[in-house]
Assembly symmetry: C2
Homo-oligomer: 138 residues x 2
């Protein structure tokens, strides 16, 4: 469901953020769905609760979650504005490699073909997990 890669130089909390965002985008986590508690998810991933706390906090700041003291963390309702700003950031990211490719003398058509290819490709970490609701139980 949420697998961490310790050989990845990317920080654990960044990996967690990515996974949660991806699950939200895929619709696996509907709006107002409660997330595992900081301590619970930390136990599931065998990382420190502080690491989860940082991931959740960042996601809250970025507008993906909202957190309620004493209750938990919940998926935020997506706004059109939020999606647009996320898309804009991603489109901007693409500009850098494109400009480098032009400097390398790569034709625009070549790039566009790969864009279509990437867009149509079955995406990364492909398997859909199943929903498993669970209460805390010692």
């Amino acid at each position: 469901m949420l697998q961490l890669d310790y050989s990845n130089p990317q920080p654990l909390y960044e990996q967690i953020k990515e996974k949660v965002k991806e699950m939200i985008f895929r619709g696996l986590l509907p709006a107002h769905q409660q997330l595992p508690s900081v301590r619970e998810l930390a136990a599931m991933l065998t990382v420190n609760p502080n690491t989860i706390q940082k991931a959740y906090r960042d996601l809250e700041i970025q507008g993906y979650l909202y957190s309620v003291r004493g209750k938990g963390n919940f998926v935020a309702a997506p706004t059109q504005e939020h999606i647009a700003s996320q898309a804009e950031a991603l489109l901007k990211d693409m500009a850098v490699p494109i400009k480098k490719l032009r400097l390398l003398g790569i034709a625009l058509e070549t790039i566009q073909n790969r864009v279509v290819q990437a867009y149509e490709e079955k995406s990364f970490s492909g398997q859909a997990g199943h929903d498993h609701h669970e209460g805390g139980r010692p």
Copy 2:
């Protein structure tokens, strides 16, 4: 000519590598052109010689430079194979944001429009304000 950004979280040696690569791609540094010595460039950028050494070393490993003990560092002659592998890496980089954009529900056409836009844009590092519109499509 080669300006470092200390507010950039990217390591100095990475910034230096990027700049040198860019100058090579732009043809400002022809093959076999001698680069500033490690100590000289370090003095120019007011950074430690070790930082320059690391940048040069990485560029040598990546095939951009060759270095001769006692003489200096020189721009390597570009090979078709080298360019192809660089291009492949950049194309691969583009795949990640594209897949995220699809998850966001962004249309392929929207992405492609921005690809064209980025490709045709003149500016890269530093210079802004010059909106030299060239070509364009009806």
